[in-house]
Amino acid sequence: MADLNPLSLWRRFLTLPNDSRTKTLVVAFLVSAVCAVMVTAATVVLRPIQAQNRAAEQQARLEALVAAVPAISDLVARAGGAALSTVVVDLDAGAAAGGVTPETLQAALADPANWTALSPAEDVAGLGSRPDYAQIYLLRDGETVSLAILPIAGTGYNGRIQALLALGGDMRMVAGIAVTEQSETPGLGARIEEQAWQQGFAGKQLFDDAGAIRFSVARGPARTEHEVDGITGATRTSNAMTQMVRFWMGPKGYGPLIAAIRRGEF
């Protein structure tokens, strides 16, 4: 009759020679299981606090971007201290989304029906699929939009890159950029986070006279009004930034919205 009492089984297991196959496998399994529980618990318990931290940082970067964009403080002052207005837009329609507010955006984006899959030809930024709604920030001068801050995202060398791109009132000129999240190689691609590099974006023209998108991160120093200095040793990251801006300024990104703002519909 086999002894099935777990305690005595456990004791028998512990007295096995350390190098027996059973003990090796069971010890490996138990150690992995305990470690997995430890790691999972830490991640799950701490996630809400981390999400809060990230949201706060996003807000801080938005404020820093606004402060760094030249003449923006004048514009804000003229608007009578009125800060940026937050708008959720429907990307396909290029208009303010009916029924989705900044508060309900999170819930709306949790629903896969509110995402559009991108075909490989459209998906230049390597996103796979794109949300139908985006939260943007507008600064108004009277009735016209004088500045739009648009969140953009793409896939870099090591992972996702997120940034806030600020466009001037003509919707052609970049007013500034702030990279809000990246995991590029420290010292190389991660230099997209540096102020000095980001300042190169200000004043760049996104489109040529025919309206085609021409913006790119150059290989080496910028030569035209459409180019930003490249980052040496980080070609993939530089390309990712180019593709990211091109995608989001294109028809699947903020194209309809930009057209609407130019027509004065906002």
């Binding site: 003990k23 090796t24 010890v27 997995a36 430890m38 790691v39 701490l46 940082e57 420290p186």
Partner: protein, 220 residues
């Protein structure tokens, strides 16, 4: 049971006499990378000390049942899991600092001091003694990092733990910051200087030369 004296010895030996960084030259990578300011150096020191103490304790608890053939993997799994937990805690409650430390918290898992202490000490000693020994090693590492971090921050940016100590020239003071101090090579120089100073004071730490110095004709 270990006497009080051997506990005290295990705690204090790694501070200077057996310092893991200056004598065994372990953990150099992170010592170079995170010492640009005192705050980051201190955070990484605390994180490493916590990881090394906990992993030494855990491994020492199960030391009699670790199969020899997979002992390194078992140790690394325990260490790496603890590192992830610490990293998550830092991201939750010390977000700004964890952003500045970036990957170096996760790289504690590969720090030779941690695996070195668990493999060479905790695997064959009872938990209390192992943890005290690990604490000593962690403190030894922290001591070196703190000294280098303080030097680099003081001379590189005129501050100490974020508080201006030396008034900067471009803010109307007299001190021109040495930007070399903010680059990785300066940590090598400082560490080299520190090791030289310790080995001059304690000649028993100096290693015998591997080759006799070559005598050149021109030098005379």
């Amino acid at each position: 049971m270990a006497g009080r004296e051997s506990l005290w010895n295990a705690l204090t030996a790694p501070l200077i006499r057996q310092n893991p960084v200056t004598l065994q030259i372990l953990g150099i990578c992170s010592a170079l990378a995170v010492t640009t300011s005192l705050a980051t150096a201190f955070t990484l020191s605390v994180s490493l000390t916590v990881v090394v103490v906990l992993s030494a304790g855990l491994i020492s608890l199960i030391r009699r049942h670790i199969p020899n053939s997979i002992r390194l993997i078992v140790q690394i799994i325990i260490i790496a899991s603890l590192v992830i937990v610490i990293d998550q805690i830092l991201q939750a409650w010390f977000f700004a600092l964890s952003q500045r430390l970036s990957v170096f918290v996760s790289l504690i898992a590969t720090n030779c001091i941690v695996l070195g202490r668990t493999e060479s000490f905790a695997r064959s000693n009872p938990p209390l003694l192992s943890m005290v020994d690990a604490l000593g090693s962690g403190l030894g590492y922290s001591l070196v990092l703190t000294v280098i971090g303080a030097c680099r921050e003081l001379f590189g940016s005129g501050k100490l733990a974020g508080v201006a100590v030396l008034p900067l020239a471009d803010e109307g003071g007299w001190f021109t910051p040495l930007s070399l101090m903010l680059l990785a090579p300066s940590a090598f120089f400082l560490l080299g200087g520190l090791i030289w100073a310790i080995r001059s004071l304690r000649p028993e730490q100096a290693e015998p030369p591997e080759f006799p110095p070559h005598e050149t004709g021109e030098a005379r």
